[in-house]
Symmetry: C2
Subunit: 318 residues, 2 copies
């Protein structure tokens, strides 16, 4: 009989990139007791200083090669186009048997960019926690960011099941639900649930800013009519999102094509006064929101609970 595999804790976890996600992982590791030591690795000296001041890691360094030495888990938390260079840099310094993971919003490109730099005996378990806020940087993170959210793992075929199990255990310890799928399917699912929504949000905020007949002050004043809901995700980190669109190009363009076709049909309904068609679509879309609320991925409070503390209306009965 072999000794049972102990999934958690990890002995030494290296986090590369201490932004919103990386700093939230550091906090969640400590809160859940999932790491005996946390090494924060960030080339930005201002970030290093903030991480030290916040006290969310046991050591802080700008030297990635030295930082990953002796780690049994290294998580890359950088914009996805930065992965290749970091993987190349840390590859030779990873301990045999170490697990490398990441948190990228695109998985096909991440597998292509990271895997070639890892020696045999190093396990690669890509991950994507589907969670975030519009804020960036080490001060924006918090340990509960991943609670009740889904994390997707996309291990390449043949990955050691014990390594996958340890990463799964880690995300479970953070309060996440975990699902495993192929990188290709991940990129398709996220294109419609995340990437295209961000693109559209960025786009309409840009369109509004360019109006010559409506002032920016008017856009801001009257944003409670719907516009402001788009501005939250349009305030997300520009570098991260540039990389997402450049690395998940095919799936984004495919989904955007469908969006455009559907929008053209809606536009036509408006032009020709097809009230029945509009009403039918507007009724159908309510069901999806009910599903999202029922699944715990959203608050049922009206207006996202912006009126929290005021007399709380009930769910609509009719």
């Amino acid at each position: 009989m072999t000794a049972p595999v102990t999934s958690l804790p990890f002995e030494r976890v290296g986090i590369v990139g201490l932004g919103l996600i990386g700093s939230s992982i550091a906090r969640a590791l400590r809160k859940s007791g999932s790491a005996r030591a946390i090494v924060a690795i960030d080339r930005d000296e201002a970030v290093q200083a903030r991480v030290s001041a916040l006290g969310i890691a046991d050591s802080v360094t700008g030297d990635a090669a030295a930082g990953v030495a002796g780690c049994d888990l290294v998580i890359l938390c950088v914009p996805v186009m930065a992965n290749a260079a970091i993987a190349e840099q840390i590859g030779p310094h990873l301990a045999p048997g170490a697990i490398v993971s990441d948190v990228g919003s695109v998985k096909g490109a991440v597998v292509r960019d990271i895997a070639p730099h890892l020696a045999e005996g190093v396990h690669f378990v890509p991950a994507h926690p589907v969670a975030g806020t519009e804020h960036s940087g080490p001060d924006a993170g918090f340990a509960e960011l991943f609670a009740n959210r889904w994390s997707i793992l996309t291990p390449p075929a043949g990955t050691d099941p014990a390594a996958v199990e340890r990463v799964r255990a880690l995300w479970s310890a953070f309060g996440s639900n975990v699902e495993i799928m192929t990188p290709e399917h991940h990129d398709l699912v996220l294109a419609i649930t995340s990437h295209v929504p961000h693109l559209i949000a960025y786009n309409i905020v840009g369109t509004a800013a360019d109006m010559e007949t409506v002032t920016e002050s008017e856009v801001i004043k009257f944003s409670a009519g719907g516009f402001r809901d788009f501005t939250r995700i349009a305030a997300s980190d520009p570098t991260m999102w540039r990389d997402v669109f450049l690395t998940n190009k095919d799936a984004v363009l495919e989904m955007l094509g469908r969006f455009n076709e559907d929008l053209a049909a809606l536009q036509r309904m408006i032009r020709w006064g097809d009230g029945e068609g509009l009403h039918a679509l507007f009724t159908r879309t309510r069901a999806i929101r009910r599903g999202i609320i029922a699944s715990g991925q959203e608050t049922a409070a009206p207006d996202f609970g912006r009126h929290a503390g005021l007399s709380a209306p009930k769910e609509p009965g009719a």
Copy 2:
């Protein structure tokens, strides 16, 4: 010297249509002491029963002609395409000197539909409170819905300034800021700040629901990546929104044309790998959100405060 005009309270306010907005007005009237009596008028017997049970009006009737008799203010709170029939019905029963107002999200069509049915000596002061939630019906309303939101008045040229002043005083008593503009400008401003955002939200939720390679369960699970933000406004009242698009067709199609042009440019940037162009747009859009938060039209809490109660991150410094 004449006696000073007393703006508030009104003696008897008739509210036609007790949905989210109408029932919120009833509550706000009572809370602010702006009406000596409130008459709730709704042809739907289920709504009449709820309004009676909630006790938010002094009397409840399904007979609009009888309900408006003796009112010095009547506010139509129905989908905009229902206004013409109601105005025709109540026109002959309005007291001389009474003020008629509404809350429609489109103002050009409202003026066209209502004004012809009002006798000389009846004042018409159209209004649009830019506030709402995704919930519908009399149970969804609350008195604070209009607090710190903007209400737009679009009185036709030549409207009695005293009548305009009384309506302005009313919205101020509800906690709203008030702005006056032409119906045409209103419809342009709201097309970009409210109507097109709703259309796009309805559209992407529909596109996601129609995927054959991504299941509805996946769309729901992974909606925290951005998609769920769109589902809130895509859960708004279908009849109200059908009417908005049919009655503000020209401005919506104009704004949608601009949106489409901009999206085509973004799509091209993705296809050709123009990272600089994407980054430049994604950076620019952050400023608009800062403006919206600074103006009090939005909460600065990350993720719309969905994480309220957890450790609150600071505003991003970098």
